[in-house]
Structures are given as C-alpha cells and as structure tokens.
C-alpha cells in the first residue's frame, strides 16, 4: 500500500521487521503524518520568520558554499560523531563481518581497490565502490539513478538490500539494533537525538550526517585555483590543467565545476540538470547496448537514450580511487587517459549513444604526463588520513577496524 505496486516483480529489496512495521504502523502516522501536519501549520504561522541559522561548522575554505541539507536531518557535530562510530562498526552487518568502511576505506578516499564491491556474505556486487568525497554536494547519488537525491535514501540500499547482500540487515533487524543498545553507544545517541533510543531512522540520519561531513577542498589544485597560490602547482600540472579544460580534450564538460562533476548542488545552486553520460565503454549490438548485467540509467528511466548512461563522478582524490569506471574495468589513470584518447573502447568507439564530447584526441608523452600530474594535484593529502590514526571516540571496543 505504501509501496509502489509496479515495483513488486522487479525490485527485490523489501523492508521488513521494524522498519516495515514502523512505516505501516500507527507510529508512522504519529511520527510522520502528525508532525507533518503540525509542521505545515507552523510553517504557515511562521512564514514571515527567517529560517534558523545552520550552526554546524563545515570547516570549508573561504568562499566555498555549504551543501544543501534536508530539513528533517540538520547537521550536528553529535550526529556526525555517532555516524562515524556506526560507519566503522562491523556490528552494522548481519554477520558482523563488514562495516561501511570495509568498502569505503579512508585511505582510498572512501572507495576501495577492488574492481567491484563484495558484500558481507561474500556476494559480488556489479559496480565499483564510489568514493565518498563531497557527496553532500551531489545532486544524485550512486552511479546511475536520477531519482536518488538524498543520502538518507541511498544508505538504505547497502543496509537492507537482499540481492545482492551488502550489510544484509534485512531479516536481522532486532539483532542488529540490539548491538547498539549498549552503555557505550547510549551517550552518543543521547547527544545526537536527545535520548538513547536506538532505531534505524536515527542510524540512517547519523550515517548520512557523517557522510555529508566528508568534504575535501584542500588539494594542491585548490591552493592554486581558489587560494591564489601560484606556486601550488608545478608547471607540468598547470599544463595538464590547461589541457583538461581545453576544447581539445573536453574533459571538463562532464567533470566540470568546483567538484569536478556537473552533478553538483549547493546552497547557492539548486538548478538540477542531472547529467548522465555514455562514455562508449561498451556497444554490444552496434546500437550502443551495454552488457545486460549493468546498463546504467536506462534501468531507472526506461528511456532508450539513457542506455549506458552513468553519472560523472568527482575527480577529487581520483589518484586514490582506482580502479575506474562503473564496473572498475579500467585499472589505472593511464588506462583511463588512453580510453578517452581513443574515444571509447572497442565497439564503444562507434556507439551511436556515446556522448558528443568523447571524440578522442592524441597526446604526446609529455602531455600525458602533464595530465596525470594535474589529476594527481586533485588529491587532498589530509582527506581521510585522520581516520587511519584517530582513536575511537569513547572506546576501542565500540569500533571495528575497517
């Protein structure tokens, strides 16, 4: 009833146990409908008032805009702290074998070195683990979904998905929740939400807050471009940057903007253009078809022209996030450059659905090195580093090593 009937045969993920009960119960009406009505009333009454100031300190460099944050999950340091504890906890997986950080590893800018991810039960996923870099600015999430716009939505996928199993909580909801009803976690929940009640809504909100807090704007490129430090980049990296932003290479058409992806929104930019692109990675039938195992945005929109369309991910920290592409099929940045220089791969080069801007180009050996040096300059050396060495918040026992 509260689910879309059309999905029944195609979408495997089901919410069960406490989550489903909560959604269908009178508590949903009490916790969602009633507050919504009250909120609407308050909104009407307070229409003349200014919105309250956002108090969370994003620690952004001067001039960088704050991300948009859902009104029902405002950022607080306490939620970020709780989310961090949960993110690194293997107790979040049904068999206590994996945490979020098992795949989203800090040293890889919260991605991992595998071609495609492997879930807690050992099941192989079909896509490469995306880095968690400035995700708060993404207008859509995951590799190819035009409707997933909130981190709170996305996080439910690894938590509850049944096919493939990632954290595998579905069917083990009570057991998983019980692991967090401990004296160690009680103060974290209380600090974040006012009392020590543990539920999945709070867990998701805390995880989302932590993921939003993972901002990265302190690369050599940033120091050059936004801090005005002429010495921050080598002459080679500057030549590579000029190539990157040239009409000859066209890289920036998809990897444009301050976050090196056009799929970005922030407090001063809410226009939603949702760009997805076919890069000519595959063309199985001469008509542009991608392999049946993963065809990108078309699976969501059912529109033929979305075949093989994937979201351009940020290039910030890209040197740490190998392998590349949605299926991890390019191992190194050199391979990625060769791929774009060729204008695609194999039959993909002649795909009718390939993006306009992927026409191929030729680079001298020096230019290739310049471009690599530029991509290296997008690495924020501090990003994720503190997570390797930082002591757990309250107790070592609370955390599991990623």
């Amino acid at each position: 009833m509260c689910l879309n009937p059309l999905k029944a045969t195609t979408v495997r993920l089901r919410l069960q146990g406490p989550v489903q009960c909560w959604l269908k119960s009178k508590w949903m009406r009490v916790t969602v409908v009633l507050p919504c009505s009250l909120s609407a009333l308050l909104l009407c009454l307070s229409a003349c008032q200014e919105a309250p100031e956002q108090t969370y300190d994003w620690r952004l460099p001067a001039g960088f805009p704050q991300p948009l944050v859902p009104q029902d999950n405002p950022m607080t340091a306490a939620k970020v702290d709780l989310g961090k504890a949960l993110f690194f906890s293997q107790d979040l997986s049904f068999n206590q074998q994996q945490s979020c950080a098992s795949c989203h590893q800090p040293q890889h800018a919260f991605s991992e070195g595998l071609t495609t991810a492997i879930g807690a039960s050992g099941q192989k996923l079909r896509r490469n683990t995306l880095a968690l870099v400035n995700v708060a600015y993404n207008s859509t999430l995951t590799w190819a979904h035009s409707g997933l716009t909130r981190i709170e939505q996305q996080i439910l996928i690894p938590m509850f998905n049944e096919d493939p199993i990632e954290l595998g909580i579905t069917g083990h909801e009570s057991a998983v929740l019980a692991r967090f009803q401990t004296p160690q976690y009680a103060p974290l929940f209380t600090e974040a939400f006012g009392d020590d009640q543990v539920n999945f809504d709070r867990i998701v909100k805390a995880l989302a807050s932590f993921v939003r807090s993972l901002t990265s704007f302190n690369s050599a490129f940033d120091r050059y471009a936004y801090q005005g430090d002429d010495q921050a980049l080598s002459a080679s990296a500057i030549r590579g940057m000029d190539l990157f932003f040239s009409e000859r290479l066209e890289c920036f058409h998809c990897h444009g903007g301050f976050n090196f992806t056009q799929s970005s929104q922030h407090q001063n930019q809410r226009l939603d253009l949702r760009p997805f692109h076919n890069t000519g990675l595959y063309n199985d039938d001469g008509q542009g078809a991608y392999p049946q195992r993963d065809q990108g945005l078309i699976e969501v929109t059912l529109q033929g022209h979305d075949m093989g369309h994937f979201r351009a991910p940020t290039l910030r920290n890209v040197a740490r996030t190998a392998p590349y592409m949605h299926d991890g099929s390019l191992a190194t940045l050199q391979e990625v450059l060769a791929f774009y220089a060729a204008g695609g791969r194999g039959q993909g080069i002649t795909s009718p659905l390939k993006d306009t801007f992927i026409q191929g180009f030729s680079l001298t050996v020096e230019e290739q090195q310049d471009l690599l040096n530029f991509l290296e300059s997008l690495t924020d050396e501090q990003f994720g580093q503190s997570f390797d060495t930082e002591k757990p918040l309250n107790s070592d026992a609370m955390f599991s090593a990623p």
Binding site: F64, T142, V300
Partner: protein, 313 residues
C-alpha cells in the same frame, strides 16, 4: 431631516458596510506577510523552428534527418528598453535563473524528453528489462517512495527549463519601444570565481574556465548516429592559466548586441532556431566550439549577427 436621514445607519447598512470593509481589508491582511514585491511582469521566450514553436514534447528539428535538442541555453544581459525619450535598464527579478542584470534561458535538457517535473516524480521502479536480474543495487524504488512521505522540498527543486524573462518592473510597450540586450555575460562578470557567483552564474554546465568565462550560448543536438554542438563564448583571452582571470578584454569577446522593435504587442520574444542554423551542415565534424578550423562558426556568428534569429513579437 435629510441630513439626519443620511446619517442614519440602519442594521442592514451596517452589515453591508462590515462586509465591504472585510472585502477591502482581506487583501491587506493576506499580504501583510509579504514584503513589498514589485508587480511581476513576464516576457515569455519561445523557441521556434520553421515557423513552429518547439516544445519539450517535440524537441526535434528536421533537416536532412531528424535531430533532437539535447540542450539549448543562452545568457541574456544588458537588457534595456528604449521608449520615446529614454533608454533605461530593464531590471530582472532575482531567482535561480536570473540575477537582476542577466538571465539564463534554458529550453531543453536531455531529460526533458522523459519528464520535466521533480526527479522524485520520475521515481518509476526499475526495471522491465532486468526483471529477475540479480542486480538491483541502484534500484530502490520502495525506499524512495516511502521517503517521499517525509521528504523535504529543499533538494527537490527541479528547474530544468527557464523560458521566460521575469522582469522586476512592468514593461510598457508601444510603437516606439525598442528592446536591446546582449547575448552573453558582461566581461566584468565573465571571469570571476564561479563559486562565489550567484545562480545561475555558478552553474558548471555553462562555465568554461576563469580564463574563458561562460558559454554564452550552448546548443547540443543529437540524432541516432552522431552529435552536433555549438558553444559560443569569448576566445583569445590571455591569462597565466585556465584558472586565472584575464586582465584585459579577450581578443574575440563574441558578445552580440541585439536591438528589437515589437512586431506585434511585444508580449513574447522568439528565438528562430532555423535562422540560426541556416546554411550550416549539421554533422559532427561541422560542430562549432570556436576552434579556428571550424568553418561552421563563421556561418553561425554571421547568422546571429544578421539573420534575425531573435524576434520581439
């Protein structure tokens, strides 16, 4: 006596007076919350091809073959209105698509073909072709659906089309009126840090680099086999790198001025795409990204300058 009669207020009159007062007061009460907004005046901007308006439902143009419009967008700035005596600036309302002095008009993005509403409205479950597939790590329609129940609207602002100029003050048109504007972004705004610019000047899809500035006009066409694009902007801009602003005007600013008289009542601005593309052979090799070897650029620039691409109707 007469005077007395006039001053007599009977219960029926009182009732009527009360009702009238209410009617008069109601709008005042209703607008009490609002700051004194100027009256809204809207000038629709319509995209036409071969004397027919193009819509989101039919974003196709017919040359030798059918081409679809992937994206068509352009900046208008330096808007002025000349009436009998005066030339005065035409200020715009400030919103996501406009600052007070420039507007980004956008007619189609590729998604326009499937929907123009909020992305959440497009949350149809996937996916017929993958029924029974082992993979649904990105397909989460039920969760999405439930999330809408208590979704905020902050992130679901969906503005993919902007096909009108929203003016800050009423535009009075008569036979002496003349509308002038520039196709482009003024130099003073063209090479600034896009991060600190207001929307729509911080939209990456229209930004080249600090050195080159914005794409003043972007037209991306595609058909079943290939794509064709025209991106207009300043060229010959000199700076230390792409991330540094030029100190002096670019060698080829490529800002085009237009001066239009109303052909009818001045209530719409038309963009004739067929006139822009006149004489241009649409094929990928003839795209125009303002590279020196691209011959189509000269035709396109000439069409913009002399081809009556814009019409104030």
């Amino acid at each position: 006596m007469t005077t007395f009669t006039r001053l007599t207020i009977r219960p029926a009159s009182l009732n009527k007076l009360f009702k009238k007062s209410l009617i008069l007061l109601l709008p005042i009460v209703c607008v009490a919350c609002h700051k004194a907004d100027p009256p809204v005046t809207v000038l629709p901007v319509e995209l036409w091809y071969a004397q027919q308006p193009l819509t989101c439902e039919t974003p196709n143009i017919q040359q030798d073959i059918t081409w679809s419009i992937g994206q068509f967008a352009f900046f208008m700035s330096q808007l002025q209105i000349q009436d009998k005596q005066h030339l005065r600036p035409l200020k715009l309302q400030v919103n996501d698509w406009q600052t007070s002095e420039l507007a980004l008009l956008q007619f189609f993005s590729r998604e326009c073909q499937s929907q123009v509403d909020s992305p959440l409205h497009n949350s149809k479950p996937a996916n017929a072709s993958h029924s029974g597939s082992q993979h649904n790590d990105d397909q989460h329609s039920d969760v999405q659906h439930t999330d809408i129940q208590h979704s905020d609207v902050q992130q679901t602002v969906s503005l993919r089309l902007h096909q009108q100029l929203e003016l800050a003050e009423p535009l009075l048109v008569n036979e002496h009126s003349e509308l002038t504007f520039e196709l482009g972004v003024p130099f003073a705004l063209n090479h600034l840090n896009p991060l600190t610019q207001p929307s729509p000047l911080n939209l990456p899809a229209m930004f080249w680099s600090w050195r080159a500035g914005y794409k003043f006009l972007r037209l991306d066409l595609f058909n079943a086999n290939e794509s064709w694009v025209f991106h207009l902007g300043s060229t010959g801009c000199v700076a230390d790198s792409v991330m540094r602003s030029p100190k002096m005007a670019c060698a080829e600013p490529n800002r085009l001025q237009f001066s239009l008289k109303p052909q009818r009542d001045g209530t719409a601005l038309l963009v004739h795409l067929d006139r822009l593309l006149a004489g241009v052979k649409l094929e990928g090799r003839q795209s125009c990204l303002l590279q020196p070897e691209q011959q189509s650029c000269q035709i396109l620039l000439n069409n913009l300058a002399n081809g009556q691409v814009f019409e104030w109707r």
